[in-house]
């Protein structure tokens, strides 16, 4: 399963999500959107908007499932934890 996490460096829920994934030995790619600049940042924001209908973080994409916010129940469910 391909897992990508869109997060913000300052966001407590992004930190919780990372911790949760790490604790369960899940590997994932991550984009820290607030640390990007210019076009790259805009592209990441556009992608988050497209995925989540908003600009809330974290946004976790696991294949075609999208989880907005730190949601243990959903993560466990989708990632088979």
């Amino acid at each position: 399963m391909k897992i990508h996490l869109y997060g913000l460096s300052t966001c407590p829920y992004c930190r919780m999500t990372k911790r949760y994934l790490d604790d369960h030995g899940i590997t994932y790619d991550m984009t820290e959107v607030d640390l990007l600049d210019g076009d790259e940042k805009q592209a990441a924001i556009d992608e988050v908007k497209r995925l989540s209908n908003g600009t809330s973080f974290p946004v976790l994409v696991a294949d075609d499932e999208v989880i907005v916010g730190f949601n243990k129940t959903k993560m466990a469910d989708i990632l088979g934890i």
Binding site: L8, C11, P12, Y13, D34, T55, S56, F70, N71
Partner: protein, 220 residues
Amino acid sequence: MRRVFFEGTTVDDLKAYMGPFAERLGYKFNTEIEFVDEVLESELVVLERDGDVYCPCRVRVGDPKEDLKIVCPCIPFYLDEFAALRKCWCGLFIREDVEDGADLIGVIEQPEPGTQVDVPVCLVEDLQPGTARHVKVGKVDLAVVRVGEEVFALSNVCRHAFAPLDEGFVDGYALVCPWHGWRYDVRDGTTDHPNADVRTFPAMIRNGEVLVTVPLGRAR
């Protein structure tokens, strides 16, 4: 209260400013104190970096008008969405009647657009009998009107030349437009001009708050 941040602003300063502000909108800090402190610590980092306490779980998009809406506590801009979630996005603030905020931390379930939601718009004590006030719920401008102990909500935009109705005056059950005097019945939005009625929304008083029932707007 004036919002003043300065060098050396602390978590306690943020609490002192945000608490009463949220309270007037029917919200309180989450019952999980450590969580609240962690979020506010993050907001201090954001404050230092970006110059204001933007919500730490949202990103600035570079449009000042949009970015203003994520300055914490951003409750007034998302009254309908937060009323449906019973918390702000991150769960730093929860509705006053939520007893245990732990379950609301982090999870952001997008409510279905169109869901009817009771949105607290102000305290009853802030709306004297015979007065109207403007509130923005989602993208809708509403006039909330009190007549005696009854409350009403209707579109705030006059159908004649688009005056803000809340700046007019209340006469019995009529809200009278400030510009050219068109009268709207606050109970059903009717006026005596053809095809110029305004939309009304159910409104009620509960636990000292004025609530208006609106369909939840499209996700922003």
